[in-house]
Symmetry: C2
Subunit: 149 residues, 2 copies
């Protein structure tokens, strides 16, 4: 039904890719939870925060960078604050805003998680691609992700 008006090649390609689209994130997410007790969302927040020099970021900017809604990040940050991974401070520049920052605890958790995560990404993904395939994948991914929303 799904692919009633696709050619045979298109249908097979789309089917195969759709399987990857569900299986790969599920596997990486399971590895992450097992190795570090983090959800993929936790990991994304921590790693994005850690990219800033002072490990601080205004909520709205972090949300924009990750392409999350402010609501989603507000909910998630509250939970992560409860676990001591990040802290929240008032923004001195804007009394409406708030600054999220990675705690030392959060940073340590992230470093340990990253060590495992890289292994996971390799063993479940990168190790099974030739460099040509990776180049093709990168080009096509960029092209499609860059399409207007």
């Amino acid at each position: 039904m799904d692919t009633a008006w696709l050619s045979e090649d298109e249908e097979q390609g789309w089917r195969a890719f759709r399987r990857l689209l569900t299986a790969l994130p599920a596997r990486l997410g399971r590895d992450l939870a097992r190795d570090s007790g983090l959800s993929p969302a936790d990991y994304e927040v921590l790693s994005t925060l850690s990219e800033k020099l002072n490990r601080r970021w205004a909520l709205k900017d972090l949300a924009a960078k990750m392409e999350w809604s402010r609501s989603r990040l507000s909910h998630h940050a509250a939970r992560m604050q409860g676990r001591g991974l990040i802290d929240k401070e008032p923004d001195p520049q804007d009394a409406r805003g708030c600054i999220l920052h990675l705690t030392d605890d959060g940073f340590m958790v992230l470093e340990e998680a990253a060590r495992h995560h890289v292994v996971s990404v390799r063993s479940r993904f990168l190790d099974h691609l030739s460099s040509d395939e990776l180049a093709v994948l990168r080009k096509l991914s960029t092209r499609i992700a860059d399409l207007p929303d």
Copy 2:
């Protein structure tokens, strides 16, 4: 952080692909909801059910086919039954089990949804790939998705 021990090429490739991994399902899901009022999960249940000749499937078999947990499908099927998209019957072969079947309503909703969905998959994905790229993507997707869990 994420990619601290990846080569430059690996990091760029993985980053680009990760963007696709989140952006594409989000866009297709939005299209689906807008065009048909279905969630991606709804659509998957309906289209998988419709593949059987009699549009009937034991819950456990449907769950296995879609690689869902029985719990997830039980929850989801209950909601879809409430909307009249599917029905639930006792399994004559096994008094523990139940048979899900696509209602006429559900089938009509699916047909309309599929019409739009194909357009969506084309315009957001297939139309932007050469046939060579699609072939590469299919091969690599199959290889990676087929890895053990």
